[in-house]
């Protein structure tokens, strides 16, 4: 480890290959795995790039997920009203508050329940493939396939009318943009809250058998301890809706693009759909779409790999860098769909590890092989440099994916 204090880095965001994280990460991981990081708000914190350190950080309860205390590593400095975590938004809460919310919703996302959704997801995927075939090439895969599938699935799971998708997809994508003004960001967030608040009231009046109604019923049941307020239910519903569609949509689209750019690998998955489970884990690792990592704040002074993190400093766990750590993944920059499953951190680690991961897995395991099998000649309809990459979004992926095939 170097003893001289090098000047702080800014979060690397410039990519030279659409599938690889920015190159600076490899250097940092090797030479300065716990690096000083300069934030847009003028503060200084830390950037972790090694798999081992990232895991240790995310499992350490001396670090908080409270956004209001943290600096954002990218974009403009946020205003306080943009940073507050509202009731129910458990992504940004610490235990014991986090535990209380998470316990109430976890039962809806168990492996067993998610696998039971498979037949319905297969139906939805088939329906989208039929629609693609009917319209004929070229198509934008994002609009016809990758966004509709997870959106419809999360709508049915929560009890959100799919007819409202244009609105909530637009608000979500505004909230996930880097370059958005404070005014636009707050307007989109308030619109989403108002929408979800109305929906919660509607479910109280006319319950159905989906998640939101079930959560309301469980809390209204006699003997329910500290039942959730409507504000909390709104926060939970909003988190699930927002986290439940853009993420999987981008994994499907970027995953398809990566597969088409690795023809031997996609041929293998097409011919051996039983590889889907491993293939999906490898794509999650390789692509790490939570591109700016997971952000935490030190609640007390903590030492990590010999460096002293002070209470109040923000620490960024670079998930994309950790997922390319050669100590953990031999030949990390190679996409190898047969790779022995290992411990990638694409879904995070610790108490906040993705609640929807089993759902995302089932969706990807069904959709990707089905797409490759239905259209064996699938390829880009434009040169790669014309594919608009989501460098400007918190969740990486493609804005559009124009594809064609032989009919």
């Amino acid at each position: 480890m170097s003893t001289t204090e090098s000047s702080p880095v800014v979060l690397p965001t410039h990519r030279t290959c659409p599938f690889d994280p920015p190159q600076e990460y490899a250097l940092l991981r090797e030479h300065e795995p716990v690096a000083r990081l300069a934030f847009p708000d003028g503060k200084t914190g830390w950037l972790l790039t090694r798999h081992e350190d990232v895991r240790a950080l995310l499992a350490d309860e001396r670090f908080s997920s409270d956004r209001a205390r943290a600096s954002s590593p990218v974009g403009r400095p946020l205003r306080p009203e943009e940073m507050e975590a509202r009731p129910g938004m458990f992504l940004s809460k610490d235990p014991p508050e986090h535990t209380r919310y998470r316990r109430m919703v976890t039962r809806y996302f168990t492996v067993r329940r998610m696998r039971a959704l498979a037949p319905r997801i297969e139906e939805i995927v088939t329906d989208r493939l039929d629609a693609m075939e009917r319209s004929g090439p070229p198509v934008d895969l994002v609009r016809t396939f990758t966004l509709p599938i997870p959106s419809l699935v999360i709508c049915e799971l929560l009890g959100v009318p799919y007819a409202d998708r244009d609105r909530f997809q637009r608000w979500t994508s505004t909230m996930l943009r880097l370059d958005v003004s404070a005014g636009e960001m707050l307007a989109a967030r308030d619109a989403l809250y108002a929408y979800m608040g109305d929906l919660v009231s509607a479910k109280r009046e006319h319950p159905d058998d989906a998640l939101l109604s079930s959560l309301i019923a469980a809390n209204a049941a006699e003997g329910a301890q500290a039942p959730l307020t409507d504000e909390e239910l709104t926060g939970i519903g909003l988190l699930l809706l927002v986290a439940g569609h853009e993420t999987t949509a981008n994994m499907l689209a970027l995953g398809t693009y990566a597969l088409l750019s690795h023809p031997a690998q996609s041929r293998m998955l097409r011919e051996h759909p039983e590889l889907a489970e491993r293939a999906v884990e490898e794509l999650l690792r390789y692509l790490s779409i939570a591109q700016f990592g997971a952000v935490r704040v030190a609640l007390e002074d903590v030492e990590i790999a010999g460096r002293r993190i002070r209470a109040g400093e923000t620490v960024v766990a670079a998930l994309a860098a950790a997922n390319r750590d050669p100590e953990q993944f031999p030949g990390p920059d190679e996409l190898d769909l047969t790779r022995e499953p290992s411990h990638h951190v694409a879904f995070g680690h610790g108490v906040h590890q993705c609640l929807g991961q089993q759902l995302a897995r089932v969706e990807m395991q069904i959709a990707l092989p089905a797409l490759l099998r239905r259209f064996p000649t699938l390829r880009l309809a434009v040169p790669p440099e014309r594919i608009p990459m989501r460098d400007d979004m918190f969740i990486y992926g493609v804005h559009e994916l124009p594809l064609t095939w032989e009919e």
Partner: protein, 71 residues
Amino acid sequence: MKIVADHDRCRGAGQCVFSAPDLFDQSDEDGTVIVLDDHPPPESHARARRAARLCPNSVIRIIENPEPAHP
């Protein structure tokens, strides 16, 4: 081999059920881990170790050579 789960730490991420469905399940009530077989047969040992390694909250502990239980 013996499997012990520190139930309080579980946040129901389901990595254990995903890696070893014969050894783990999740409760219908709160999604937390249920150990189905805490003395797994040898052919399940590798999967049990993998589940322990993958658990994001260090819930699952593997005791490779448990003391024999007192009669």
